[in-house]
């Protein structure tokens, strides 16, 4: 029977192994964006789709600024980098509009409709009754140096309002000028900066895209640097941040994998002083890891680098079952491998079930990435468990160990600490200390959900980005408004209500700038209003005296009926003219992305300095939503942090009846007590050291709960003679877990650090308290 099961398990392992080999051979694909790990906002799927589209298009943007004191050097270097990028076929370099056409086409588009086009400031002046400001400005332009006015222009646009509208258009990277086919600017330090912008063709969060892009870019940069050591290159783009993050995670992963494996091996060798337990444990770990990986790939087709990282920590838990089994050799009396397995069977089965319950809560919450972690972990743990119960007894030929008296004696001390009547005061002192820590921590504890503090953004790239903004006024914004309406005109009108408010925020400094379809093409309603405004408030009172002053004969009626009295400019006309076509394609979401045939427009924001003020600006305007991915995401983290705490409580409740089946209700409570104490104490203890409670701490607590219950179950299972042996197993399990998760605590990524430190403190505390769950009726220890 047992051999049959072992063979069946072998077949399963071989199939999973074959799948893994095949997938690795095909090339694994890793995801690296932290966002992909976390839940989506399901409340408004249509809005979510629009957001995804905008976020996707923003994340594909890449830009770099090449600076050099020599203009020709800067230009040459920029050209070389651009060529390298284009040759790699990873990115498409944006066209630089030629000087000749850049504005001529725009002028031709707007000129016939000029009567309805007013710069925001001019409109404001007319609305507030200051038309003379416009006529003074026109006079100063006619008489001043560099006057562009000619009679033809003045006849058609006497107050020269169109050039002002034109100059106020929010064209991007406005600090740059086109010079001989390149966007460039010069800074005070006499540096010439050339901007190269591009659109990434691959997925910026795919590891291989990042690798190839970085390789191509770095190679080109090395060549440029050898010829031009003084060149400065600044980079911006989500892909660079993602690549830097992935590099950190990969570095963490390889250190973690190595150190925790070596540590676990050493631990086993030191304790057992033999090769067999090591080989058995490695077998259990190896099968667990391989099965976890294989099943995840089967289920998801790809892996997230964070799931890998958290999954790797599973080494520390997967080894537990084999450790519990192997540690039985220290038990008194002669036993066969099968008898040893029978002894630990209830403990490891309960352990597996409680851990699986813990991970199953990951499945209850809609976290796409954490589902991967859960699948990886559950598959891995089940495989390790199966390996231990089906294979280990067959492979194990060892008799009882002759050494280990020291280790067991140490365990007895801990055991005695919780039992001996004469140590009551010491116990009291420990519990009081813990209570003190809890109270002090409870006073200081605070939750943090800000996603910007969870990711560790490369400081170098953040600095690059800030300088790019300073030099070129170029920012790849992340915040925007989505304007949804039934048709274009309604959308433009809503935008105008919004822009009127945003304009005030720009003046007050809360916002750097904004760009909306309505900035380029006002609604038909607004164009008509503008026409009336100019006629009634500017031309009627001031035109005659103004013309007399400059000496231009009174205007005939409208000289040519360019756009007719009623013509209005539409988005469709503007979309055919560059650079508006490209700009508008980013601001007007194509039909079909959102439900019900309506239209969706984007209002892009630059340099949001007070995001609350900006958020409030949309209030009361129907169909307008502020999207601040980082803030929305942080709110989501907060919501799921609270939900996870709820799930932990639910797990406790679910575990109780399960444990009660074996220990009765009172026994179950006694087994749960150390675990519950642990999960309450860990965040409070961290708070003492000013560490906030985050979503990621909550997730780690789910694991801590499972592990702590596991430890307690082992202690509860042991009768008097076996108590030190059981505790030795727990000690080894704790050490191996601490080895793997403790290293996570050293990670640069705040989220991973949170998981690691919570686990580290958690398992240590769980071990310390586990013997409380020991059976009271066998009071022999005292």
């Amino acid at each position: 029977m047992s051999r049959t099961l072992a063979v069946i398990w072998l077949v399963v392992v071989v199939i999973l192994g074959a799948n893994l080999v095949w997938r690795v051979h095909q090339g694994l694909s890793f995801r690296t964006d932290l966002m992909a790990l976390l839940p989506r906002d399901e409340a408004d799927p249509s809005l979510q789709r629009v957001n995804d589209r905008v976020a996707g298009s923003l994340s594909h943007r890449v830009a770099f600024l090449v600076g050099h004191r020599g203009r020709d050097h800067a230009r040459g270097d920029a050209a070389r980098l651009a060529r390298a990028l284009a040759d790699s076929s990873l990115a498409e370099i944006d066209d630089v509009p030629s000087g000749r056409n850049r504005f001529a086409a725009l002028g031709a588009l707007y000129f016939p409709y000029r009567a309805g086009l007013l710069a925001e400031d001019d409109r404001e002046r007319l609305l507030t009754g200051h038309p003379e400001a416009l006529s003074i400005r026109a006079l100063s332009q006619v008489f001043g140096i560099a006057g562009m006015a000619d009679a033809g222009l003045l006849r058609r646009d006497p107050f020269m309002l169109l050039p002002v509208f034109f100059a106020a258009l929010p064209l991007p990277s406005s600090r740059l000028g086109v010079e001989d086919g390149m966007l460039s600017t010069t800074t005070d330090a006499d540096m010439t900066w050339i901007l190269v912008s591009a659109r990434l063709l691959g997925d910026p969060y795919a590891l291989d895209v990042q690798d190839r892009l970085n390789a191509a870019f770095e190679a080109a940069l090395r060549v440029v640097r050898t010829t031009d050591p003084e060149v400065e290159v600044l980079r911006a783009g989500a892909v660079f941040f993602a690549a830097a993050g992935a590099k950190t995670a990969l570095a963490d992963m390889s250190t973690l994998g190595t150190v925790s494996s070596v540590g676990t091996v050493l631990l086993i060798l030191l304790v057992f002083r033999a090769m067999t337990p090591l080989l058995l444990s490695l077998l259990a770990i190896g099968v667990g890891m391989g099965a976890g990986l294989s099943v995840s790939l089967l289920l998801f087709g790809e892996l997230h680098i964070m799931s890998m990282l958290l999954g790797l920590s599973l080494i520390g838990i997967a080894v537990d079952y084999s450790l519990y089994y192997c540690v039985e050799i220290f038990a008194p009396g002669e036993r066969t491998p099968r008898q040893r397995l029978a002894r630990v069977m209830p403990g490891i089965t309960l352990g597996l079930v409680t851990t699986a319950i813990g991970y199953a809560t990951f499945l209850l919450a809609p976290f796409p990435g954490l589902r991967q972690v859960a699948a990886f972990s559950v598959a891995g743990l089940v495989a390790s468990f199966a390996t231990v119960i089906f294979w280990l007894p067959l492979l194990d030929r060892r008799g009882p160990a002759r050494h280990g008296r020291m280790l067991l004696a140490m365990m007895t001390v801990l055991w005695r600490f919780w039992r001996a009547p004469n140590l009551r005061h010491a116990r009291g002192a420990l519990l009081t200390t813990l209570a003190g820590v809890a109270i002090f921590g409870a006073w200081r504890i605070g939750a943090v959900d800000d996603v910007r503090r969870m990711q560790s953004l490369s400081p170098e790239l953040v600095a690059d980005q800030a300088r790019m903004q300073q030099i070129a006024g170029l920012a790849i914004g992340t915040q925007f408004f989505v304007v949804r309406a039934s048709d274009e005109e309604d959308a433009l009108r809503s935008e105008e209500s919004l822009l009127d408010r945003l304009h005030k925020l720009v003046l007050s400094g809360a916002l750097g700038g904004y760009r909306a379809p309505a900035s380029f093409v006002p609604s038909a309603q607004r164009q008509r209003q503008n026409r009336d405004l100019v006629r009634t408030r500017l031309e009627t009172p001031l035109l005659a005296s103004y013309l007399a002053r400059i000496g231009l004969p009174a205007l005939a009626q409208e000289p040519e009926a360019d756009a007719g009295a009623d013509g209005v400019l539409t988005l469709a006309m503007a979309a055919n003219v560059q650079p508006l076509g490209t700009l508008l394609s980013e601001l007007v979401v194509p039909q079909g992305v959102q439900d019900g045939g309506g239209v969706a427009h984007i209002v892009m924001l630059d340099d949001v300095r007070q995001s609350d003020a900006v958020r409030i600006a949309a209030e009361g305007i129907g169909g307008v939503d502020f999207v601040d991915p980082a803030a929305d995401f942080s709110r989501l983290l907060g919501r799921y942090r609270r939900r996870t705490v709820g799930l932990i409580a639910l797990s406790v409740v679910l575990m109780l009846p399960l444990l009660a089946l074996r220990y009765r209700m009172l026994g179950a409570v006694r087994v749960m007590l150390p675990a519950v104490m642990t999960i309450v104490l860990v965040p409070l203890a961290k708070a003492v050291f000013d560490q906030p409670f985050t979503f990621f701490d909550a997730i780690a607590l789910v694991l801590v709960l499972s592990i702590a219950v596991d430890y307690a179950v082992f202690c509860a299972e042991a009768d008097a003679a076996y108590q030190p042996v059981a505790l030795l197993g727990v000690a080894m399990a704790m050490t191996s877990t601490a080895l793997s998760f403790g290293l996570l605590a050293r990670s640069q990524v705040a989220a991973v650090h949170a998981v690691g430190s919570t686990m580290l403190i958690g398992v240590a505390l769980a071990f310390l308290l586990a013997s409380m769950a020991g059976r009271r009726r066998d009071g022999e220890c005292a």
């Binding site: 001529a104 332009q141 140096i145 050039p163 002002v164 400059i550």
Partner: protein, 205 residues
């Protein structure tokens, strides 16, 4: 803009101790300030009369040009590498960024090059023909073939000068023309008033 140092200048007796070198046109150096008066006569087709304005100007090498029109009414125009700013009664009425309107970048280079004597700068934009000697000279500038009409809306520019630049005639593509006459020019160092320096800073933002 890329050639910010090319402002103009001229110099008299530049520095050789003991010898009074004959006054001649030379490139202005950074830190020098040129002051003078101007009269501008703008001929625009279809207008009843030329638009005449007059005032004074301050050119600070490397910083920019302040053009103070006093007649027929007060307008201050400040041209820097960043663009053009006009102020009436201390209030800004117009601000045009050079990058948005390449014409102003060219104008800055043209006036800067002409007044500072940086012919090299002018030669990248124009075909330059020179007559006369250092004491009395004139220059004819023709846009380079294939020049962008939007950023170079001139058909010809004539410059005349001696120790200083005396006259500029600009003929536009549409036949309108400007005549600028300069007088009373003086060149010195460190001569910007606080208000002037502040105006240049405001405009350069």
């Amino acid at each position: 803009m890329r050639r910010r140092r090319l402002l103009f200048g001229l110099a008299a007796a530049a520095g050789t101790p003991g010898h009074r070198v004959r006054a001649q046109f030379r490139t202005m150096v950074r830190g020098e300030v040129l002051r003078g008066q101007f009269t501008q006569e703008r001929q625009i087709k279809g207008f009843e009369r030329p638009l005449v304005s007059a005032g004074d100007f301050v050119l600070a090498s490397g910083l920019g040009l302040i053009w103070r029109t006093e007649r027929p009414f007060a307008i201050v125009t400040i041209i820097t590498a960043a663009g053009l700013v006009q102020e009436v009664d201390g209030a800004e009425t117009t601000r045009l960024a050079a990058v948005r309107l390449p014409f102003f970048a060219r104008l800055y280079e043209l006036l800067g090059g002409a007044l500072s004597g940086d012919w090299e700068a002018l030669e990248t934009q124009f075909q330059v023909t020179r007559h006369g000697d250092a004491r009395q000279w004139d220059l004819a500038l023709m846009p380079q073939a294939g020049a962008d009409k939007l950023s170079m809306p001139f058909s010809s520019v004539m410059l005349r000068g001696g120790q200083f630049l005396d006259e500029v005639r600009i003929v536009r593509l549409d036949g309108d023309s400007d005549r600028l006459a300069f007088s009373g020019q003086t060149l010195g160092t460190g001569g910007l008033s606080d208000a002037e320096a502040a105006a240049l800073r405001r405009a350069g933002k």
